[in-house]
Symmetry: C2
DNA sequence: TGCTATAAAGTGCATATGCACATAAATGCC
DNA sequence: GGCATTTATGTGCATATGCACTTTATAGCA
């Protein structure tokens, strides 16, 4: 039994908190479909952004707009599963990553599940609403890029 | 120097990945303003949802729509700073949490910064766009609530 | 009164996230 | 060629996130 079981939910004046909240729920939605592949949404995203051609860590981080160090560690499970292979190029500082054949196969299996999830999401939200939401998110991403003075 | 420095960014057909991406960037935006208070956005959110009246963990988790166990650990730093106090009620299973006077003071200081951040965000995105984005996020949250069969 | 079912919470595990700091290799001058 | 600077990456630390499993306490019923 709860104490102080007040009104349902606060109006949430904070856009950031609202985003985090929706992201939590949406991630759970997708991961429900990826579950028996034992794949997280982020990991699927990595598979999707990797190819058979070796790619440098920083390059990948830029494309995904993720922190470099998050990626370093996020790639490790994929390497452990032998879906991704690390190699070195002429520049001995760089780490290059590419999908293995197993990784390509896994990505294909995952894409089926992802498509199911995406479809189900569009069903739940309505196709038009989803498009508009995607639009807004994309727009916000573009507008927010130069918004932090320190990041320039 | 990068290898395979292809086109800028993929169109991102995945709504979930887009959400995660925007959330990362937006969180960084807010946390820039909270930085010298050494407060994360999530922690600010906790302070905002706590009061002087003791609240049970599960009740708080429901209100924030966060996982109970995430909350258990998320509250610890706040307790360590003595902004939040844990207590027990008549039901010996429950943990009750409330803001200490220091916690109230901290919340007030943080609200100033939060307001600056929110205002700056609305500047960056445009006021109208922000309202519409908030609207969509709220709508999506409402629509997604019953969307996972397993969650019923 | 006991026994069972349920409810509240904690813990272990595995990622996800990003900052500050450290290291190593390549670059650019002089 | 040799040294200062820049670049690519790794590591330590502290949260954030959520699932599976465990523990403890209350509730409900025979």
């Amino acid at each position: 039994m709860h104490i102080n079981a007040g009104p349902t939910l606060d109006p949430l004046p904070c856009t950031g908190a609202r985003l985090r909240r929706l992201t939590r729920r949406t991630t759970a939605f997708y991961e429900h479909y990826l579950r028996d592949l034992d794949l997280r949404l982020t990991q699927y995203s990595l598979l999707r952004h990797l190819g058979s051609a070796p790619q440098a860590l920083t390059e990948l981080a830029d494309r995904l707009e993720m922190d470099r160090t998050t990626l370093t560690r996020g790639l490790r499970p994929l390497i452990r599963q032998a879906w991704v292979e690390e190699s070195r190029g002429s520049d001995a500082r760089m780490r290059l990553y590419r999908l293995t054949p197993d990784g390509v196969a896994m990505r294909e299996r995952a894409e089926v599940r992802w498509a199911e999830a995406q479809h189900a999401l569009e069903q739940a939200l309505g196709r038009e609403f989803t498009d508009q939401l995607n639009q807004r998110l994309e727009e916000a991403l573009a507008l927010l890029k130069p918004a932090l003075p320190e990041n320039n």
